[in-house]
């Protein structure tokens, strides 16, 4: 299973989105907790510092130094900073060597890193005493910083873990639906290849895939039933009408042999028309046979160059008599697995059609540039050889191209020409039987029909 396909599934995308939203929510929650607690702790420290500074500055100036010494002695854990500096900034007492430059007397509290005299980060405030000396009171904020670190790393790790877990869940959830989708895809491909009896598997979970498969199966059931009815009707009509028509034709033949000579041309005309109906029925039956035929039966290694040469030999005289310039090329032996007789028939039908329509278009034209032209060529593209029949006849308008391959279709151009038969439909049925492709394109002007002799890529 491809990773790319997996990443494209709806389940995966949804899971990834959930993971992202959850991670964002988690980060905001922890961030809020962090902010609130950090601000609270800082404010508390600042409050304590202010109280202590006020208490010290309230004592008589001569006693301040002594009070500082007492406070430092009492602070057994060495958590506090107390220091007194002279007007010129020299330390008079306490555990701080100098006033940090960012600390302003009577200004807001600041945080400093560890110093030589106090080995921990500290939060300090300074007060100018009435004597002009500066009192600095501080408190160790190592715990506060540690807590901040803990919360920040918790944010990074938990957010990352949530996103990773979300992605993993996305992949895990997507694999199973994707696998089922592949099974459905394969089944659909088989249906498209002509197996109308194939149905999509239903897991029994009654989920959306099951609902979809059930709908497709119902539709396919209807399609199969309708196809069966159409096919059955075609066969019945063709078969039931063929017998009386054949008898009528035989009676006409007898009449012609023994009847009045003046009536002979008329009888011949009726016979020709009956023949046309019979040929049409025969072609319809033939398409039905081809469609119901077991694939691959009678397939042998076939040289397409030989086949093309054979068709060219058979049709060159017809092209000449129809006033159509005909040429063909088949470079070298190109072998494919095919039923040679059927492929010959398919190519013959394409060439026959091209000559017939092109010949009819240019009938009566005299100028040399007004000549019908039909080209039959075999090209050996690697893996997918093509047999192309190109003409400069009337062509087929794009909207009609897929319709002409169906058995009941008669295009605008067919009405002008007698006995046009169902050549393209038969060719199309043969090509489908081989799992080859029949392409109809514009030759500008004219039609370019190509049989691509290779397995169609999905």
């Amino acid at each position: 299973m491809q990773i790319r396909a997996l990443l494209r599934t709806a389940t995966f995308r949804l899971s990834a989105l959930y993971a992202l939203i959850f991670a964002l929510a988690l980060v905001s929650l922890l961030g809020l907790v962090y902010l609130r607690s950090a601000v609270y702790l800082t404010q508390r420290v600042d409050g304590i510092l202010a109280t202590e500074a006020s208490a010290l500055s309230a004592s008589p100036p001569s006693e301040v130094e002594q009070r500082i010494e007492e406070a430092l002695t009492l602070d057994g854990k060495k958590n506090n900073v107390f220091a007194l500096f002279s007007r010129s900034g020299e330390v008079l007492a306490g555990n701080l060597a100098a006033i940090p430059p960012e600390l302003r007397a009577d200004g807001p509290s600041v945080e400093i890193g560890p110093t030589a005299a106090f080995a921990a980060p500290a939060r300090l405030i300074a007060r100018r005493l009435a004597s002009g000396e500066v009192l600095v009171v501080g408190r160790d904020v190592d715990q506060l910083q540690e807590m901040r670190g803990i919360i920040a790393s918790a944010l990074i790790w938990s957010g990352g873990a949530v996103i990773l877990a979300g992605l993993a869940c996305g992949v895990a959830f997507s694999v199973s639906p994707l696998r089922r989708l592949r099974v459905l895809q394969d089944a659909c491909a088989e249906i498209a290849a002509g197996d109308l009896t194939r149905r999509l598997p239903i897991s029994g979970r009654r989920d959306e895939l099951d609902m979809f498969a059930a709908t497709v199966n119902y539709t396919m059931g209807e399609v199969e039933r309708l196809m069966g009815e159409v096919k059955g009707a075609t066969e019945t009509i063709a078969h039931d009408l063929r017998t009386p028509l054949t008898r009528a034709r035989a009676q006409l033949h007898r009449l012609q042999q023994s009847g009045v000579p003046e009536q002979a041309p008329e009888i011949a005309r009726v016979t020709a028309e009956l023949d046309e109906v019979l040929e049409r029925f025969r072609a319809l039956m033939r398409i039905t046979e081809l469609e119901s035929r077991e694939r691959q039966a009678g397939f042998v290694r076939t040289d397409l160059a030989d086949l093309v040469a054979g068709v060219a030999e058979l049709y060159a005289p017809l092209a000449e008599e129809s006033g159509v310039a005909f040429d063909w090329t088949a470079p070298r032996a190109v072998r494919v697995d095919a039923d040679p007789k059927l492929m010959f028939e398919a190519v013959s039908n394409l060439v026959d059609n091209a000559i017939k329509f092109t010949g009819a278009k240019f009938a009566g034209a005299n100028a040399s540039d007004q000549q019908g032209r039909v080209t039959l060529r075999l090209t050996a593209a690697p893996g997918r050889p093509r047999i192309e029949v190109e003409d400069n006849g009337p062509g087929i308008p794009p909207p009609e191209r897929s319709a002409v391959l169906q058995r009941f279709y008669r295009g605008e151009r067919d009405r002008m020409i007698l006995g046009s038969g169902l050549g393209l439909s038969i060719a199309s049925a043969i090509v489908r039987l081989h799992r080859f492709e029949l392409e109809l394109a514009d030759a500008g002007p004219g039609l370019k029909a190509a049989i691509v002799c290779g397995p169609a890529p999905y």
Binding site: H253, E279, G298, K341, E345, S348, K356
Partner: protein
């Protein structure tokens, strides 16, 4: 008069076949199932057999196989309502000489019987040279000559002329010609065979020589024997 054994289970169809065989100058004899058909055929005396592909109790192909095992060499024309593409191939492979899909025109049945009868007779006594009026075909040197004049023929034209000469006097439909000469079994279209026969005809019937080719309107072509 050639005797034809008709093995056909459907009485109406059998009568119809018998009627058109009689009209075509044959002497038909009817059998309605595989076993009695096989019995009649092995007793001998028939020039050709028409055999239905689907018989009660015994498949037409099986009858054909047992006929060939019993060394019955009479040519067999298989008749079938099955139009399957492969049915013809299996029928011919099992030893049938020709294969016709029902329904068929009576003259088509007669023509096909004539063709296989003639081919059978010629197979027994192979000829090296065919002759129709003043037209001669040397099968060894692969040369055609009319009234001492050499006629250049393409390989397919030679094959077509050989087939028409072997069946001279017999009206041949376009379909029979296409199947027997080109050995393809699809509808060749209305004028494809006309064109090929026409070209051959222009090479053979030259100048004021007596015309050998004759077009039978709505049916096919005939090479005049007399």
């Amino acid at each position: 008069m050639a005797r034809i054994l008709v093995i056909e289970d459907d009485a109406a169809t059998a009568t119809e076949i018998a009627a058109c065989l009689t009209a075509g100058g044959f002497e038909p004899e009817l059998r309605f199932d595989g076993e009695s058909g096989l019995e009649a055929a092995t007793e001998g005396g028939f020039d050709a057999i028409t055999l239905d592909r689907m018989l009660p109790g015994c498949d037409g192909l099986e009858v054909l196989r047992r006929l060939r095992e019993a060394a019955c060499e009479a040519p067999v024309l298989m008749l079938s309502a099955l139009g399957d593409v492969d049915a013809r191939v299996t029928g011919l492979r099992a030893g049938g000489d020709d294969y016709m899909v029902k329904p068929f025109a009576p003259d088509e049945l007669v023509a096909r019987l004539e063709v296989i009868l003639r081919r059978h007779r010629q197979a027994v006594r192979p000829e090296l040279r065919l002759k129709v009026a003043d037209l001669e075909l040397d099968l060894v040197r692969r040369e055609a000559e009319r009234g001492g004049r050499r006629i250049e023929l393409l390989p397919m034209e030679f094959k077509l002329l050989e087939f028409m000469m072997r069946n001279a006097g017999q009206t041949l439909s376009r379909r029979i010609i296409f199947e027997q000469v080109w050995e393809y079994y699809f509808d060749p279209g209305t004028n494809l065979i006309d064109v090929h026969v026409g070209r051959l005809r222009r090479k053979i019937d030259v100048g004021d020589a007596k015309a050998l080719f004759r077009t039978e309107r709505g049916v096919g072509y005939l090479l005049n024997a007399d």
